[in-house]
Symmetry: C2
Subunit: 157 residues, 2 copies
């Protein structure tokens, strides 16, 4: 049964996007499944950073089953950009890249300690996890695609 609203042709409350854009939320609205009316800020943020038209285009270019993930990642990026207009979520990437480098350094040093210690003091002892130099414990903290410049500069000034 339709709601008691007498204003137009839709029977459900408009999604957050249509409410924000002050338009009718018709059946098949591309935004409706991902921007429920209970979460108005989600759409407002995404619209402010990317623009409703760009988001609509993007959603139409990907598979329906990927759209929820896409909207959530856009919402995450938008929120990060609103919190940090200069770096957005790229700031998080810089911080995480530094964390990975620092942890890798720490792990290499600990493995070196263990290796040196076992070689010098005990001779034959070979702990399972020691992979100093290569192999186990070898991570690539800069796998190319995620590299954000050589000197991101974030937080260095």
């Amino acid at each position: 049964m339709a709601s008691s609203s007498s204003s137009s042709s839709y029977s459900n409350p408009p999604c957050a996007a249509c409410k924000f854009l002050r338009r009718k939320c018709l059946s098949g609205c591309i935004f409706a499944p991902y921007f429920p009316p209970e979460e108005p800020t989600k759409f407002a943020n995404v619209h402010k950073i990317f623009g409703a038209s760009n988001v609509s285009k993007l959603l139409n270019e990907i598979l329906p089953q990927q759209r929820e993930d896409a909207v959530n990642s856009l919402a995450y990026e938008a929120e990060a950009r609103l919190k940090d207009p200069v770096y957005g979520c790229v700031g998080a990437i810089s911080v995480l890249q530094r964390q990975v480098l620092q942890l890798q350094k720490e792990l290499d040093a600990t493995n070196a300690d263990l290796m040196r210690y076992t070689n010098n003091e005990m001779g034959a002892y070979n702990p399972r996890r020691v992979g100093y130099g290569s192999g186990v414990g070898s991570y690539n903290p800069n796998p190319g695609y995620y590299s954000y410049g050589e000197n991101p500069g974030h937080g260095n000034n």
Copy 2:
């Protein structure tokens, strides 16, 4: 001295943004310092993902000395979104978060090996770097702000 161009009131070649948008690149153009004509793709990407109007608004809201960093981070985000329309650079954040967790686990295990070994076998030996459990070597791989959901799902299907 002005160039030999006779077409309009600007003396320099238009920036990549104005060229793309087919408008005059006037003195004081907000885009010109960050979108040189030699890098047309940089603007095209940013425009496709964020829209020129949103980028212009954002640049006007931040300090001039922060604008270059802002444009570079926007260009990075835009390129990541074009490469991966579903996750964009949030995919990189998920990967890096998993790397941090994995490295932390590896470091804890190596420290535990070292600690157990030195306690059981050698008694008094206390290597400088061992900080198992807390203190040195203790990282927080999920510092809240960078947390992308509890189950990012990226790459898990």
